[in-house]
Amino acid sequence: MLRQVTQPTDPAQLADALESTDYLPDEGLATAAYLALVMHRPLFLEGEAGVGKTALARALAEVTGRPLYRLQCYEGLEASHALYDWDFGRQLLHLRAAEAAHATGDTEQLEAGLYDRRFLLARPLLQALEDSPSVLLVDEVDRADDEFEAFLLEVLSDFTISVPELGTIRAETPPLVVLTSNRTREVHDALKRRCLYHWLEHPDFDREVAILRRRLPEVTDELARQVARATGRLRELDLLKPPGVAEAMDWASALHALGCRELDPDTAARTLGAVLKYREDGERVRSLARGALFGA
């Protein structure tokens, strides 16, 4: 049952609410999210792929009952894709319509009418500010380039966007901003300083079992424990891509689909593709003694 909480009084209360959406944060993450909410500071989440950075933003939107706006970053991302753009087609149509209706009036007024809010196409950043309180997810900010970071810093410091033709748009309540990074490159310190910084780790054994049980209630307790243990061991192997929580879930549901109630070495070897995403990793694990990895 979803428990919504618009203004939590402490981290524990927020953690409770998050758990009701099947997102199980540890104490650090709950504190980080709580502080982001009450201090109106963006939350900068770093960590390996698959530890649940993006999922947190979704869960936060759900528990706070706020709309979620997502900006996926990529190299060459431009302000017009992140902020707003003018709907040129409609502007032109408006002009033609005025012409057809023989609207006399003065040109200045006509021109001003072209830059009306209704011709403005809002992109995620502007949407999040206009629709605030909202949750704004800036995903994989490490993929955008330096210029975009500088621009983002500007928007996140005062939560206003100015459109030259329209004026300044200000968020009444700052949106809850979650930035994620996979650390493909170092994000500029000035941006990080604006944010609360949290390094997200893979969940520990108990938490991972709890997550598997919660998300996949059909999976047996025994299978969940074995999958969590085996996944934990795989993470220690120095693989090209250590499995994240998402992979552990894929694995458990693959095993469940095959009718497994417990993890046995043969089925484990057959379903490795659900957890390991590189040929080299698969070969490496298959060459190891199976008992050591998938035994009890």
Partner: protein, 369 residues
């Protein structure tokens, strides 16, 4: 209820401890910590731990130091175990010999312009390992003039251009000024962007006659395109020296770089170090789509098999792989060492790197890779 002044002085003291431990913890961050503490239970050690960690730290490297400083200052337990994913702890740097005994400006400059020019021409083709001190000094000056042009790639950003796709935005904006009449179509096309160049310079013992020249080349490359060039040294371990090489003056930059390299003139385990590079940097994106230049003689102490595997991996990630081997410039050289044999199938361009002329050629290869 604890006194506010107590909280402030405790936090300030902690921040000082943390700064001594090497975490930046700037005043605005400390202010943020105070604000965070105000929102939490001040008497709860775990809450204070997280309030500080979330506001004062800025990278996974900071976390271990934070934990240690927290335990020292509050002499309490640290809530969680060692954070994963952090890099190795800071190491003491050693100063390395960078120049072949040369001490900068020796008073032996040729005064005559003509001799200087012809001397430069001869120097261009000389093997840098066989130069006298004076020749080295002269060559260094020529190195500073090397500015390898960066290869370009297409990007998603577009710039106005007389040809190319129709730019709806500009076309309509112009039309709006003309009362809605489209008189002329504006065009734009993808703007080329510099492609990343990654240099991996072998600084092991067998490469020491060439390491200085290679690092000078790397410095020239970083100076030419600071934002899109990365330099690492490889030997027994991987060291990122990009930041040090950004210094303007080559000698100061190389001294800083040398101070950052802990394994100067040690052995070589290229396979292992390459794996470390790919795990920590390459896979995440530094090598992806980049021109990667490996500068090494391929003397491998570790298994050549690992090197072969990692080179194949690098080849799949990178746009182009260039291998620079100074020995290739010698007549009669054949790539027979185990490491070279294992690496060559994954190399796009195999070039020499023993003289200024060879470096000029290398700059050309990088530009057109």
């Amino acid at each position: 209820m604890p006194d506010t002044r107590d909280v402030v002085s405790t936090v300030l003291g902690f921040a000082r401890t943390l700064r001594n431990a090497g975490v930046a913890a700037s005043p605005d961050r400390v202010e943020a910590m105070l604000a965070a503490v105000a929102h939490l239970d001040v008497l709860d050690a775990t809450a204070v731990y997280w309030a500080g960690r979330l506001t004062l730290c800025g990278s996974p490297d900071d976390l271990d130091r934070y934990d240690a400083a927290f335990a020292a200052w509050f002499s309490g337990q640290v809530p969680r175990g060692r954070p994963r994913g952090g890099d190795e702890p800071a190491r003491l740097a050693t100063v390395a010999p960078l120049t072949g005994g040369g001490t900068g400006d020796a008073g032996e400059e040729p005064s005559d312009l003509a001799t200087k020019a012809s001397g430069a021409e001869v120097l261009r083709h000389r093997d840098v390992a066989e130069l006298t001190v004076a020749e080295r000094v002269e060559l260094r000056r020529l190195f500073a003039l090397l500015a390898p042009a960066t290869p370009m790639r297409r990007s998603r950003r577009r710039a106005p251009s007389p040809h190319g796709a129709v730019d709806a935005g500009r076309t309509v904006r112009a039309a709006l000024r003309d009362g809605g009449e489209v008189r002329r179509l504006a065009h734009h096309r993808a703007r080329p962007r510099p492609r990343r160049v990654v240099l991996l310079v072998d600084v092991s013992g067998s490469m020491s006659p060439y390491a200085d020249a290679l690092l000078r080349f790397a410095h020239a490359a970083v100076r030419a395109r600071p934002a899109s060039t990365e330099v690492f040294t490889i030997g027994t371990r991987l060291t990122r020296v990009t930041r040090e090489l950004r210094l303007r003056d080559p000698d100061r930059a190389l001294a800083a770089g040398g101070a950052a390299i802990p394994d100067w003139s040690g052995g070589t385990r290229i396979g292992e170090v390459l794996k470390a590079f790919l795990d920590r940097w390459g896979q995440r994106g530094t090598a992806r789509g980049a021109v990667v230049v490996v500068c090494s003689d391929g003397w491998e102490r570790g298994g050549a098999e690992l090197l072969g595997e990692q080179m194949a991996r690098l080849h799949r990630l990178a746009h182009a792989v260039v291998w620079v081997n100074p020995h290739k410039g010698r007549s009669g050289y054949e790539p027979l060492t185990g490491g070279m044999v294992a690496a060559l199938p994954s190399v796009d361009h195999f070039v020499a790197g023993h003289s200024l002329a060879a470096f000029e050629e290398l700059a050309g290869v990088i530009t057109h890779a």
